[in-house]
Each structure stands twice: as structure tokens, then as C-alpha cells.
Symmetry: C2
């Protein structure tokens, strides 16, 4: 019951891009990777997933980089998590159990299943209601944030 690295880093990348979007600025892979403390190659891998999920768009060549594909308020965190690593119980244990026959007919399984469903609902209530916009600080903080981003040196972060 863990958050995958993809989910953690992917969401963080989106938050950074959302902030950068306030000054209509694209972020490059070197910038993002430095800011997140991961290798450029790994950042690229994560961003590919986000692009295929329709959350970010990329521009190649000089002056290129990544931007959000749509407004932060329209990006539900639940959808992001889905794209980055899947929900908690996607492979419903009650329908197919490691490729074997269904085991839902066993009472014990169904009681456990109900519990997972309750957890799933609890998680969804948080993740589906929250948008990327909800993760951003208030406007002043945003301004102080984006002002600290220098041109070519990667993100220089506020303390």
C-alpha cells in the first residue's frame, strides 16, 4: 500500500508546471529534473507518461519545453494518479485472482473486498475532489515563486 515513485514525482512535476504557467513559461527537462532532484532521463520518462495522459504538452527545439496541456483547475489529481500508476485496487481481486477462477463466491473474499472498496471510496473522495489548482499556494506566494526562476540556470527555489 504504497505510493509509487512515478506517482510522487509525476504529481510534483505537474505542480511545478502549474506554477510556471503563471508566467506563461515552459520548463525544460533539465530544469525540472534539477528541481525535483532526479536525473534528466528519469524526468523525461515521467513526463512522457504525463504527455500521453494528456496533462502536459511538449515543444521541441530551442525555446521548447513542457507546459500544462490544460488549466490546472481542470486536472483532477485522481486522473493523474490513474495515469501514473493506477488506482489502489484496479485488478479487482474478486473478479480475477492472479489469472485463476473467480473467487468471489467465497464469503471470506467478499468481506475483504468490502473493506478495500471502503478504502477506495475514502481515497477517491480526496483525490477526485482535488484539482491541480487546489495544490497551488495563494497568489502572492505564486508570484514570489515564479520570480525566483532564473532563465537558463534551472529552478532556483525559494526558501
Amino acid at each position: 500500500m504504497k505510493l509509487s515513485a512515478n506517482e510522487e514525482y509525476g504529481l510534483r512535476c505537474l505542480v511545478r508546471l502549474a506554477y510556471a504557467g503563471f508566467e506563461e513559461r515552459a520548463l525544460t527537462i533539465p530544469e525540472i529534473s534539477q528541481a525535483e532532484g532526479v536525473s534528466p532521463a528519469y524526468a523525461a520518462k515521467i513526463l512522457r507518461v504525463l504527455r500521453k495522459g494528456g496533462f502536459v504538452k511538449a515543444a521541441r527545439g530551442k525555446e521548447g519545453g513542457y507546459t500544462l496541456a490544460r488549466p490546472a483547475a481542470s486536472i483532477r489529481i485522481g486522473d493523474v494518479i490513474d495515469a501514473l500508476g493506477g488506482r489502489l485496487f484496479e485488478s479487482d481481486f474478486c473478479d480475477t485472482h492472479a489469472g485463476q477462477a473467480p473467487i468471489c463466491t467465497r464469503s471470506v473474499d467478499c468481506s475483504v473486498r468490502s473493506l478495500w472498496r471502503a478504502v477506495q471510496v475514502a481515497v477517491d473522495q480526496v483525490l477526485s475532489k482535488t484539482t491541480l489548482r487546489d495544490l497551488l499556494q495563494n497568489e502572492e506566494e505564486m508570484n514570489s515563486w515564479v520570480r525566483t526562476i532564473p532563465g537558463a540556470n534551472g529552478l532556483r527555489l525559494i526558501q
Copy 2:
């Protein structure tokens, strides 16, 4: 954001042992593994974790097997999940980030952190309130359940 195999199977084993406890009966590894559709070796591995976590106790030799170490009502599912695979965000990303320096000073991290904390709270509210007893069906069902367990042939499950 997935449930690990250990967590899924481990909890199921506990539910079975709770039912078996109603007729003061120990379940052997072959019985449990057959009922859960996993190999005996794998079942043994999971049961070891449960034993070290203090949820079950084992008796060796003939007539041996596993039983719950304490009443089902005193076993919180949250504790079981902890023992079997850890909670969602045990390695708090804000304190130590892949062995690097703390990154909590970066605003972006803290907003993401707040979200995970909210998810964590939501999950805990379900898992910490639920005990193993809560996962058992009502008494009549229990009786029909245990009556279907034959002596030496492994669990024969109700349909």
C-alpha cells in the same frame, strides 16, 4: 498506489483463521494455501510475517497449525497492513527524499505533502476503526461456514 500481494493474502489468511477459531480449530499451511490459491511455501512466508507481528501463533508437530494469537475484535486492520507492507507514506517524502537533503523547504513539496497527508488520514479512518471481527459475517453465516470445513482435506468452501 497499490495494495501489495502480502497485504491482500495476509489479511485473507487472518479472516480464515478467525472463522476457524470459532470451532477452536487450527489451520495448517496446506489448508490455508489451498483455500487461498497460493503455494504452501508462499503461504508459509506470509504466515511468518503475521506471526512475527503477533497476530497469529503456530503450533508445530502433528495436530499443529496456526490460530489467531488474540481475539479478532482486538486486531486492528491498520496494524495488520502495517506489519504486512507498511502504510501509504511511511517514508515521508518531505523529511528524506531518496536519501538526499530535506526538500520540505520547497513550497511545491509541501503542497503535495498536504495532499498525501489527507489521503493518509482518509485511509486510516477506515483501517484503524476496522477490526478483524468487523470483517466476519454474522453468526449464522459463520456456523454454515465452519461446518463446511472437513477434517483433513483442506478447506472446502461454501458456494
